[in-house]
Amino acid sequence: MNELIDSISAALIQQFNAEIIEFQGEVSLVLQPDHIVSVCQVLKDDFHFELLAEETAVDYWPEQAPRFHIIYRLRSLKHNEIIGIRVPLDGNAPSIPSITAIYANANWFERELWDMFGIGFKGHPDLRRVIMPYDWEGHPLRKDYPLGYEEVQFTFNFDQIDVRKPYAQE
């Protein structure tokens, strides 16, 4: 850990009840969902983390509490540093405040997380699907989403599947 990380941890641990984990030289803050907006504001204003490099999620199903981790990676061009933020969320209707007011490019990241993981972002200006069609049901990157779509046709079950297959008409 360097001086910058030390000063960040000094500022944030007390104020926001943050926890710091370090893995192979990469530093991450573990936060509660309610604090994410104010922490991002502090990191942007006071520590020059101007760039939201990535916002993504991990599904730890079948664990339920916490089931999801939302992961932010902030980059500081001034200090040439990257810091991660992890926010654990429960599996039942997960929801977290949106950071689009601070980082504008979070807009599409959060739409993708809604699309793929079904995570609600409170305060997001336009929370629609971004990858799947708008009428799609379910959230495909959840671990309990059914993976396969169609049974594979082999010689022994060719006719059986052929009957069910929806062939297009002229």
Binding site: M132, P133, W136, P140, Y145, P146, L147, G148, Y149, E150, V152, Q153, K165, P166, Y167, A168, Q169, E170
Partner: protein, 160 residues
């Protein structure tokens, strides 16, 4: 005994109208650009100098469906692409044919999941399936020549 013998050396041949029309259809069948994935590279290669698809009357890939007779679906079709594919097919004028190029377009290939249509025949009617991952240009040419055989045996009333 026919008119060609009576006319002598005047350069006339006689044949059935159906055969003449089918012959002309196979000799100027313009495919539509529909490269969706890696199969499109092989399709381009089939048109380039080494394989030269224009030997079979396919000089032009048309970017507009309204000018094309043949749709070569080259690559995997995602669920979001499927309505677009069907719409382009509907915009093509009759007579029209579809070649499903490669395993992904034919049956989903290695992508047996929610995002990929499991065979483009769920969206448009397919005339010829070309197997391979991706098929070599020779295989695509063979598929096109197979389609020509099919077209030559078609009846006019099929499209009327």
């Amino acid at each position: 005994m026919g008119i060609e013998q009576k006319l002598g050396n005047m350069g006339v041949i006689t044949l059935k109208l159906e055969e003449a029309i089918n012959w002309s259809r196979t000799k100027a069948m313009w495919p539509m650009l529909f490269g969706l994935a890696c199969c499109a590279i092989e399709m381009m290669s089939a048109q380039a100098a080494n394989y030269d698809m224009s030997r079979f009357g396919m000089e032009l890939m048309r970017a507009s469906p309204r000018q094309s007779d043949l749709m070569i679906v080259a690559g995997r079709v995602s669920r979001k692409m499927a309505p677009v594919l069907r719409r382009l097919y509907d915009q093509m004028p009759d007579p029209k044919w579809v070649i499903s190029m490669g395993d992904c377009a034919s049956c989903g290939g290695i992508f047996n999941n929610y995002a990929i249509v499991q065979g483009v025949d769920e969206v448009v009617p397919v005339d010829v399936y070309v197997a391979g991952c991706p098929p070599r240009p020779e295989a695509l040419l063979h598929g096109i020549l197979t389609l020509y055989e099919k077209v030559k045996s078609e009846k006019l009333k099929d499209w009327a």
